[in-house]
């Protein structure tokens, strides 16, 4: 029997993979992918609680919003990445250390 815990564990793995991806990838696009993974992990949680918890249809609606906003975020982030590439002639985020204290 597939329980709530199994879905939550899958979501946890996806979430942690996303975080590690963001923390390790030097490629800007890679970081974006990490973000997508994190968001997907969160989405699995939402749907799982929608099915097994008390969220009901609300969980699915919020998941919908997350998906839509993730798409929007991806578009903007990609534009930022392009700008970054245009300015630095590279996609390596380690090169962007202007905010160093």
């Amino acid at each position: 029997m597939v329980t709530l815990n199994s879905y939550l564990l899958v979501a946890a793995v996806l979430f942690v993979c996303g975080v590690v991806c963001m923390a390790t990838k030097r490629n800007g696009i890679g970081i974006l992918m990490g973000v997508e993974l994190v968001l997907n992990g969160a989405n699995i949680n939402l749907i799982a609680f929608s099915k097994f918890g008390t969220l009901g249809i609300d969980g699915q609606v919020v998941a919908m919003f997350v998906i839509v906003l993730a798409a929007a975020e991806a578009a903007v982030a990609l534009a930022i990445a392009l700008n970054f590439y245009n300015n630095h002639l590279t996609i390596d985020v380690d090169q962007a250390s202007e905010l160093k204290g």
């Binding site: 329980t3 699995i44 700008n83």
Partner: protein
């Protein structure tokens, strides 16, 4: 059968995600991401969220990942396709990730979900406003009405529940309460999101437009 499907999807999702982390080549990362996200949509279907699963496939796999791949094509030319990390970094990140994962997993496992529904629920009993097995695979209607500001599911289920289970201590059929429940839809957030998307569209195209100060070789 259900467990088998779940195992396939779960392994595909987790494995894809792990592969995304471990792969250094950005194009392969994109591929593994597609695998992972597709598996997640399968999980959605399994949980009866058919519309969300479909949206996941269409927008994520069909839209966002394609967008990312376009980004890769535009930026990761030549040496930048794969940028190597030092093993120390990977080790450090792996340790932190493992610690994080163990933290989250232990938290998930520490909670006895099934026994605590009464505590977790806002009404003090098992919510039957949730997923209803009889309506499996038919969420698009309730989703659509919810986005338009109507909550048939909640409303109907509440009435139904009151008729059926009279032993529960709140028997008062408060009609005003029911109508208040009816109107807790997502029309306003839906509108905001739509405007948000428009803004993002314009903003992204503005940000991504060609800059003149970058020397462009004329062909």
């Amino acid at each position: 059968m259900e467990f088998f499907l779940f195992a396939v999807y779960a392994i595909a999702a987790c494995g894809g995600a792990l592969a995304v982390v471990l792969t250094q080549n950005v194009v392969r990362m994109a591929f593994w991401l597609v695998v992972s996200l597709g598996a997640v949509s399968g999980l959605f279907f399994m949980m009866g969220a058919d519309f969300v699963g479909g949206t996941q496939l269409l927008i994520y796999v069909g839209g966002t990942v394609v967008l990312l791949i376009f980004g890769v094509m535009l930026t990761a030319s030549g040496p930048y396709v794969s940028i190597e990390n030092s093993p120390a970094e990977m080790l450090q990140a792996g340790l932190v990730g493992l610690a994080f994962l163990s933290l989250v997993a232990s938290t998930v496992l520490a909670v006895q979900w099934d026994d605590n529904f009464e505590k977790l629920s806002d009404r003090g009993h098992v919510a039957n406003s949730g997923y209803n097995p009889e309506e499996t695979g038919n969420t698009s209607r309730s989703l659509g009405t919810a986005l338009l500001g109507m909550r048939f599911d909640k409303d109907l289920s509440t009435v139904h529940q009151q008729v059926g289970e009279e032993h529960v201590n709140h028997v008062h059929a408060d009609h005003t309460h029911a109508t208040a429940e009816l109107s807790t839809g997502y029309l306003l957030p839906f509108e905001i999101v739509s405007v948000h998307l428009l803004v993002v569209l314009i903003g992204a195209s503005y940000l991504a437009r060609a800059k003149r100060h970058v020397p462009v070789i004329e062909g």
